[in-house]
């Protein structure tokens, strides 16, 4: 083997060994600093305006990167269903929208991340409303942001008056679809009616192009349907109780009494569970994370 070849081989092995060593060292550094080290650093620059100044004019690209980090931050927590660890979500969204006030996707989807109750979301509906209001100030002619605002007021803040006002203001913007006026009226008349919520989530499901949001809307629609069906089943177990002075032990008791045609199944085609106190629950609560009246918290 000539000298040049020998040097090449030794150099190659050395480079590979050094690189492998650097990877191992880096993994050690990352394990010491923890998984959130990189994201924590974003708070050293808590102001979007400062980040914008430091971007040397390339702020729209930085906005995309911050938005991606917000999505990743939310996604990581959403996946493990952890409660109470969304502290950086609003600052990340705030910086994103400071960098690019026209980034509609950050207001629309970011506010849904913020507003949904934990562990599905951050459980911060007030911050979600503030984010959308910021979006409206920056994009006053984009009527869909009023829809998002009304939606948050309705679903998560349960402020039907504010929701009605948001839908009304949005409906006055040229180009707004007529159902905004319908929503304003519905909120004012019967805000707490579940069919109103169904109508809203159906609108989101039909209009969104994002898969994550579509999945969330589908889960909400399933949960709403299951809630309504369980309301009806509980009315029938109550009717059974009034007739026989005891609750049915099995669905067949209700079928024999002529109160049911067959064993009732939830929207995923799994039979509902009948409990001894006459209440009804879904068999698999993970399929229905947004149950309002028959969820895990009502079991406690």
């Amino acid at each position: 083997m000539n000298h040049g070849r020998k040097v090449m081989i030794i150099s190659g092995v050395l480079v590979a060994a050094l690189f492998a060593g650097s990877v191992i060292s880096r993994l050690q550094v990352e394990s010491i600093r923890g998984p959130q080290a990189t994201l924590d650093e974003t708070l050293y620059l808590p102001s979007g305006k400062t980040v914008k100044r430091l971007s040397l004019g390339y702020y729209s690209l930085l906005a995309d990167i911050y938005w991606t980090r917000a999505v990743q931050y939310f996604g990581a927590r959403h996946y493990v269903r952890s409660v109470g660890h969304y502290e950086l979500l609003y600052p990340l969204l705030d910086i994103t929208t400071d960098l690019d006030p026209k980034l509609i996707v950050a207001y629309e989807n970011g506010s849904i991340f913020l507003s949904q109750r934990q562990p599905e979301g951050a459980g911060q509906p007030d911050k979600a409303a503030a984010l959308v209001e910021k979006g409206i100030r920056a994009n006053p002619t984009y009527w869909r942001l009023y829809f998002t605002l009304g939606f948050i007021h309705y679903t998560d803040r349960h402020d039907y008056k504010a929701a009605s006002e948001a839908f009304q203001k949005g409906s006055e913007i040229p180009g707004a679809l007529p159902w905004m006026k319908v929503m304003a009226a519905r909120m004012a008349e019967k805000g707490d009616d579940p069919t109103t919520a169904t109508y809203l989530w159906k609108t989101i499901y039909d209009t969104t192009t994002d898969k994550t949001i579509k999945d969330t809307a589908a889960k909400h629609l399933l949960s709403l349907q299951a809630d309504l069906e369980m309301d009806e089943l509980e009315r029938r177990t109550q009717a059974y109780y009034e007739r026989f002075k005891k609750y049915p032990e099995e669905w067949s008791d209700l079928i024999r009494a002529g109160l049911l045609a067959g064993i009732p199944a939830d929207p995923t085609h799994t039979p509902y569970n009948l409990r001894l106190d006459g209440t009804v629950r879904v068999a698999n609560e993970k399929d229905f994370p947004y149950l309002e009246r028959h969820g895990a918290k009502e079991n406690k």
Binding site: S60, L61, T68, V71, Q72, K102, N109, T209
Partner: protein, 258 residues
């Protein structure tokens, strides 16, 4: 005169190509090909926006870097290699040398930007599948980036006429950074009083203003750019570039090359 000018311009361009400046196009294409699919996987609603922002920001950033690193050696390299003496011993005037260098470097950057723009539109077609009318605004953003190059080339050339390459790079980069704060400088001046106000306003107008040439965000959102902005930005960039190049000529004319 025209033939001498075009000879220097053409040679400057050929020298840049020989320096493998256009290799940056490969990096640009890789960036575009990687960004759209990657960000569509890990983000929400960003595919086109990311492609536009990465594309336009890269065209601008690559160009500014090339302008600085080629521009700073325009004069000093010719002195070091003693080729300047050969050129000036012929019937070539000093201003023709500077103007030729300016046009040659600008031509390099324009060719680079045009090739990048073609690649950028191809990437848009590949990933987004169709172009819309509002995508024409992207061409305005590219045009403004070229105006930015016009100014940056003039600035780096000015520094290269009297400073060493390393200091020219530092000065040119500093002016680029200051230029991105162009509108803030004016706001700072407006907040001060008396003589400071006049002085600060003067400095704000002497410094280049790159902020008004940055319409990447508007283009990415498909917003239209007013014809007035196009006309006055063109006038501003032209006048500023010619002014700074004239200063470079002035300095170079007075420079003792012995």
């Amino acid at each position: 005169m025209t033939s001498r000018l075009s000879a220097i311009t053409w040679n400057t361009f050929r020298e840049a190509v020989r320096d493998r400046v256009l290799y940056n196009l490969i990096l640009f294409v890789l960036l575009l090909l990687a960004s759209a699919p990657l960000f569509s996987q890990i983000s929400i609603g960003l595919e086109k926006l990311m492609l536009v922002n990465v594309g336009l920001s890269s065209i601008s950033l690559f160009g500014v870097i090339i302008a600085i690193f080629l521009g700073i050696g325009m004069v000093s390299k010719e002195i070091d290699k003693k080729t300047l003496y050969t050129i000036l011993s012929r019937p070539v005037r000093r201003w023709e040398f500077i103007a030729g260098k300016y046009l040659g470097l600008l031509l390099t950057l324009v060719v680079n930007a045009v090739l990048m723009t073609v690649g950028f539109y191809v990437a848009l077609l590949i990933f987004i599948h169709r172009l819309q009318g509002s995508d024409a605004t992207l061409l305005v953003a590219v045009y403004f980036i070229i105006l930015q190059f016009m100014m940056m080339v003039a600035i780096t050339l000015l520094f290269s006429t009297f400073s060493t390459p390393i200091f020219s790079a530092i000065f040119a980069f500093a002016l680029f950074v200051i230029g991105t704060f162009g509108e803030d400088l004016k706001n700072f001046a407006a907040m001060s009083q008396g003589a400071t106000r006049w002085l600060a306003t003067g400095v704000a107008y002497i410094m280049p203003n790159f902020a008004s040439l940055n319409v990447i965000a508007q283009a990415a959102h498909g917003e239209s750019i007013s014809a007035h902005l196009i006309i006055f930005n063109t006038a501003y960039a032209l006048l500023y570039s010619v002014g700074v190049t004239a200063m470079a000529v002035l300095v170079f004319e007075r420079r003792n090359l012995k």
